[in-house]
Symmetry: C2
Subunit: 400 residues, 2 copies
């Protein structure tokens, strides 16, 4: 093994952009500290040789003012700092990529990870989404309209009751019928029975309607049961999978997406993980967390709490997520933004205008608001079908 | 399967305590919303039957003012809200327990999860730490003093160079010699070669000194490689394992700890996960995240950034972590608090006074500060050995 003084890495680097506040001098010092913290985690003066200093340590590429609170150079302002890390530090592993990007600095207030740029030399290790926007459209046979999604709930219903609900939702024309993310393998609703019954119910409805609705069970599970649950879901006729990568680890999502034998679309739910997005001066930016990273890990669709519901994401944050989900990313398939979190039928025209046709609209409780589930499903569907009011207004389905 | 209207759960509940701010009326409304959000995720009025309402939905047990900003009932104050959830909602799964405790509300500002109380009916599904404080003392043959820990670094050194460093650290009397958490399986330092060389080096030193130092490789890895890496570490003579559960998922820690065949102490590193602790009005409290939950998952020792270093945790937050790591917890073994993050030799007496004898002191860069590693190790060791200055002062090693 070559000694470190003769290290000879490729020179390829990936970029992390952080936002930092302070005076120009403070921010520069802080940026230098991040370059060390995320790689050698060692005082600069003690680094044993020049090769490590130049080839391993992160390098500041740029420091740009992003907001100016004061005209004085000695007063605090906000800056975007671009740091370039050697691709070899992240190896071929998502766990280690996250570690270099934000592992230790996640614990420091005043630093937010805004976005990343990954060169082909690093992206080659990632397969990304297996279906994405076009793959899921193909599977459903729907070429242009937004997709409809809902959740089976409330927790406490039996598998038979949930299956009955799934049947009526599929008859009503909902494209993706997912488990509520609170359904796992509880004694009052065991996983195997729920999946068998719900998959059968949706399949029966599909035979009647001639359409394709998919049932997506929640396979979020302990580390030693996750594979088995995914496999049992497939065997029992699931049309896709729901996973909460914040509960299982983001790399579990990558592993499932990469599993060719499984071959099912994966819908990512933000439980717990989304806690890292709450800022403004800490954490991971919305677009990066729910868009870029979730997509890199291989989700085909990413659920997030939209503006206008029970959560507090702003329009700008939601737009950032939708952009990161669908923007070009060196060949990785674009994925579905799934605005959710208390959306109501009356908001659908506005949501379609805002998120465009390549979006997956998730409405839960509000479908049950009137007691007549069929009528609510029909209304939901009519709002996104060609010829709907939104469509004829001329500005529907426009991309962001 | 019984219909949900005849649900008959045990009535056993676990408790989550959240801190919320607002007027008394606002906080009560918010607390009711959390009871729904974390279970049925459904509007109260639409819940289909009374059994679900009374047996599935969280119940407010108590709302207590925790800090009073204003004497008026209409002005915002801070409250601690205790919510009791049925044990069956969390099943027997750590992933789902985290989901009920904080899954969706993690995405809402203004709510912080402060602490939890888990009854035996729920704890029965968790084995907890295999070694903990007494198990690790036994393995090392050290009955009373604090333990010494350091990290092999900087990233960029070759396996042979790291092994040489490990040898000198073990000769110098460091008890636990861990990989830096940035070492994974990089091309400049492959996992297998590093582990073989470092384990051999520490074993050779042990033969010379007659003492027991342990080498703990970082096995943080992609989901489909984690088991193999742990197993290869064991085969190659590792004395313990380092894992970053924020990168792999907290349940991967539980799975490794539960693996009897593996049987190695596990040191938990806070990379990424710790981002959830940054508050004050969001996230998960320090003691709960680094103490209770990490211990529940089965870590034997929990690394966290101590006050007095490169990070910004306060003394109170550090004390909260050390307390949660070691306080009685229904039979789960107490674990080692591992204050870290830029600790220096000169701080050791103070750290021992603050954290007590049942603590594991992690000093990295500062051991290399003078160039004479042996002398620094000897100094580190002398500061915690019986007869040291701290000890003779009479107030050393006192528990918190």
């Amino acid at each position: 093994m070559t000694p470190s003084s003769t290290l000879s890495l490729s020179g390829e680097r990936f970029t992390a952009v952080y936002s930092l506040s302070g005076t120009a001098a403070e921010v520069e010092a802080r940026a230098s500290a991040i370059c060390l913290e995320q790689t050698v985690e060692f005082p600069e003066a003690l680094i044993p040789n020049q090769a490590i200093r130049t080839q391993i340590v992160g390098a500041i590429a740029e420091i740009e003012p992003s907001a100016r609170f004061s005209s004085s150079d000695e007063s605090p302002n906000s800056f975007e700092v671009s740091i370039r890390y050697p691709v070899e530090t992240a190896g071929r592993e998502l766990t280690q990529l996250l570690n270099v990007l934000f592992g230790n600095v996640a614990l420091q207030p005043g630093v937010r990870l805004q976005r990343i740029e990954l060169p082909p030399a690093l992206l080659q290790h990632y397969q990304g989404p297996r279906f994405g926007i076009s793959g899921l459209r193909q599977r459903l046979g729907i070429t242009d309209r937004p997709l409809l999604c809902t959740a089976l709930k409330p927790m406490g219903l039996s598998p038979a009751e949930l299956a009955d609900m799934a049947y009526r939702l599929a008859l009503g024309g909902i494209d993706l019928i997912k488990d509520d993310h609170g359904l796992s393998d509880q004694i009052f609703c065991p996983f195997d029975e729920r999946v068998s019954r719900c998959a059968e119910a949706v399949s029966r409805a599909n035979q009647q309607t001639g359409r394709t609705s998919l049932y997506l069970p929640n396979i979020t599970a302990p580390a030693d049961e996750l594979d088995a649950r995914a496999e049992r879901a497939r065997e029992r006729g699931a049309g896709g999978l729901l996973l909460c990568p914040g509960l299982t680890g983001l790399d579990s999502l990558r592993r499932l997406a990469a599993d060719e034998r499984l071959g099912l679309p994966i819908l990512s739910h933000p439980a717990l993980l989304g806690g890292l997005s709450l800022g403004p001066h800490i954490g991971i930016a919305h677009g990066l967390l729910f868009g870029t990273l979730t997509r890199l890990a291989g989700a085909d669709a990413t659920i997030f709490p939209s503006y206008g519901g029970r959560f507090a994401f702003t329009k700008a944050e939601c737009q950032e997520i939708a952009n990161a989900a669908r923007a070009p990313m060196n060949g990785l398939a674009p994925i579905w933004p799934v605005p959710a979190g208390g959306m109501r039928l009356e908001q659908v025209p506005e949501l379609v205008r805002f998120y465009g046709a390549d979006s997956l609209l998730l409405i839960g409780g509000d479908l049950h608001a009137s007691g007549d589930l069929s009528a609510r499903c029909a209304a939901f569907r009519s709002l996104v079908e060609p010829g709907s009011q939104t469509d004829s207004s001329g500005n529907a389905w426009g991309d962001l």
